[in-house]
């Protein structure tokens, strides 16, 4: 088991910069998600860590040992592929045994270790099945058992749950997390699914166009995004753009928005504010509000989407459509076309440098 250090890694394919000076420190035993849209470089980064491809510049260390020029077969990593990549000509047990067998471990050791790994992923009785006789979730488990049975220093997962249907995916998320905790292996997980990243990982790295946009625990990235991209890619956010005032921003129409979180910016600089839709309260103008320390905007409901436990309101205001999510508490629902006021606290408002 070991931590992974990625320092100033760059990789270009022709004129395309797939990775541009990326540095991340993956702590020993942590569960990391690399999150980003397709083409953001997350898979390229994973392949550099695995050793399928070498960086043009920068350093990669596993357990303190430089590996950026070590080929994959000598890196002692475990990897789970998007489509599992199980060997079709071998049984589930032989798939799991492969890594031990190419190392020349004695037969008895292999059999015992394979059974332990299959038990760990709860497939103890299905060892003799061929991959095509297994369901998607079972193949996933075989792939995982195969990757961890060799006791790798780090476990790499390339969108491992992408091919599963939603219900199974949630089961596997819990299962994967349990297994990871049980063996305490450093795990790096590539995904484009923000919910998966939020629910599973200790830390998230968000990538965009080959650069690391932000890195930290899920709560921190969600509550304190440092860029509009991070704010809108991980979860939903309402973005206001204007000039920094020292206490927040002033919108082009003169409205002041107070921000209690995020960057400290000098007055006059271009800046934006991000507010999560669930942090905004919505009510009818008739009730009236005059709190001093609260951000307030007036608008008109243009659309309402009812989703059972909550409703999403789209509120038009000065050419901008804002999104507000309201829990279903049994309170009166607002109709489309209704004039409303939006209220939210400065603490829920994150100031972002433009």
């Amino acid at each position: 088991m070991a931590g992974v250090q990625v320092a100033n890694v760059s990789r270009s394919f022709g004129a395309h910069k797939a990775l541009d000076d990326v540095s991340i420190d993956f702590a020993d035993g942590g569960f990391y998600a690399l999150l980003g849209p397709s083409g953001s470089g997350k898979t390229t980064l994973l392949r550099q860590i695995a050793g399928f491809d070498f960086p043009d510049a920068g350093r990669i260390a596993i357990g303190g040992e430089s590996v950026e020029r070590v080929p994959v077969e000598k890196r002692r990593i475990g990897m789970v592929f998007q489509n599992y990549a199980l060997f079709p000509n071998m049984s589930a047990a032989d798939n799991v045994a492969f890594g031990l067998s190419v190392r020349g471990e004695p037969k008895a050791t292999i059999a015992a270790e394979v059974q332990r790994a299959l038990d760990l992923v709860q497939l103890g009785k299905l060892g003799t099945r061929r991959p095509h006789q297994l369901s998607g979730g079972q193949r996933q488990r075989v792939a995982l058992a195969r990757a961890i049975v060799t006791k790798p220093r780090v476990l790499l997962l390339d969108e491992p749950l992408g091919a599963l249907d939603k219900a199974l995916r949630v089961d596997m998320q819990i299962e994967l997390k349990r297994i990871q905790r049980e063996i305490g292996i450093t795990t790096i997980f590539v995904t484009h699914d923000q919910e998966e990243a939020l629910t599973m990982s200790d830390r998230i790295g968000i990538l965009r166009d080959g650069r690391l946009v932000q890195e930290g625990p899920p709560e921190e990235i969600y509550d304190r995004p440092q860029s509009e991209f991070a704010a809108t890619f991980l979860g939903d956010a309402n973005i206001f753009r204007g000039d920094a005032t020292g206490a927040g921003i002033r919108l082009p129409d003169g409205t002041a928005i107070a921000a209690g979180a995020g960057a400290k910016l000098a007055a006059g600089a271009k800046a934006s504010c991000a507010v999560r839709p669930e942090r905004i309260q919505i009510s009818t103008i008739a009730k009236g509000h005059d709190q001093v320390d609260t951000n307030m905007l007036k608008g008109q409901v243009s659309k309402r989407i009812f989703a059972g436990n909550n409703s999403t309101y789209f509120v038009d205001r000065d050419g901008q459509t804002l999104k507000v999510i309201v829990q279903n508490t049994g309170a009166e629902r607002l109709a489309e076309g209704q004039e409303v006021v939006l209220l939210w606290s400065p603490e829920s408002t994150v100031l972002i440098a433009a």
């Binding site: 994959v72 077969e73 990897m79 060997f87 492969f98 190419v102």
Partner: protein, 262 residues
């Protein structure tokens, strides 16, 4: 209803005609190899004399052994070299790869007569001359493109992540090839090998150019025998070859179907 039945009947009749067209000459020849009359005279009189006298024909038997020997060695060499070439073309990107791939196909289309002439001139030029070695080299050259085409087609269905998965588990290049890639392409390799065997064993034109009186293959020997004077021994040996060739082709078809599954 009636129209459908007529169409169905016509369809069956058509298939019957097609098969008759393909097999009637062969069936007649096979029957005549068991007919006592050397001049195809009827009534049919059962005999296995021609097979017995074939057994006495040392020249024909020597040529048969040459053919089998050359076909087996050709199969081995071209299957190994061809499979290796297919793997290289699949795995690596290199300068001139497209050109090389494009150049692999024309030899299949070039008439054997021309290939044979070219080989004869070339082998004389470099001092190999004619004989069994020349025939063997010629057959390997003819068979290689077939093997590469068949094995490459099979490799198209191979998922490259499988090799990556094997490497991530610590397997070296040899272990990856031997334990993951080869088992997958094996149906293609076997089909390619059968093709190579057929190309060599049935080869007349190129063998004719490259053989010498003492060193010749069965098809060339049959041709020479027919020119000297036809005997039903030829029917007998032809029947044996047809049975062997058809068995090989059926096997190939089986492996191709097998390769298409999964």
């Amino acid at each position: 209803m009636a129209t459908t039945r007529i169409l169905e009947w016509l369809g069956r009749f058509y298939i019957f005609l097609l098969l008759a067209f393909l097999y009637l000459p062969i069936i007649i020849m096979a029957l005549m190899s068991f007919n006592a009359s050397p001049f195809y005279q009827l009534p049919f009189e059962w005999t296995t004399d021609w097979y017995a006298s074939l057994w006495q024909n040392d020249q024909l038997i020597a040529a048969t052994w040459n053919s089998i020997e050359i076909a087996v060695i050709t199969t081995f060499i071209s299957t190994v070299l061809g499979s290796m070439a297919s793997l290289a073309l699949y795995r690596y990107e290199f300068r001139g790869k497209k050109l090389l791939q494009a150049l692999l196909f024309p030899p299949i289309a070039i008439p054997w007569l021309i290939t044979g002439t070219a080989m004869l001139i070339f082998f004389f030029g470099i001092g190999i001359g004619r004989g069994l070695v020349a025939i063997l080299l010629g057959h390997v050259a003819l068979a290689l493109p077939y093997v590469i085409v068949v094995v490459s087609a099979r490799l198209q269905t191979f998922a490259p992540e499988l090799e990556e998965a094997a490497r991530s588990l610590g397997a070296n290049q040899w272990q990856v090839t031997h334990r993951v890639t080869l088992p997958w392409i094996m149906p293609g390799v076997i089909a390619g090998g059968l093709f190579a065997f057929a190309v060599s064993f049935d080869q007349f034109v190129v063998s004719y150019f490259l053989s010498t009186p003492g060193q010749t293959t069965l098809p060339v020997e049959i041709y020479a025998a027919i020119r000297k004077g036809f005997t039903p021994e030829i029917n007998a040996v032809s029947t044996i070859i047809i049975v062997v060739s058809m068995a090989l082709m059926l096997l190939t078809a089986r492996f191709f179907k097998f390769g298409g599954e999964k």
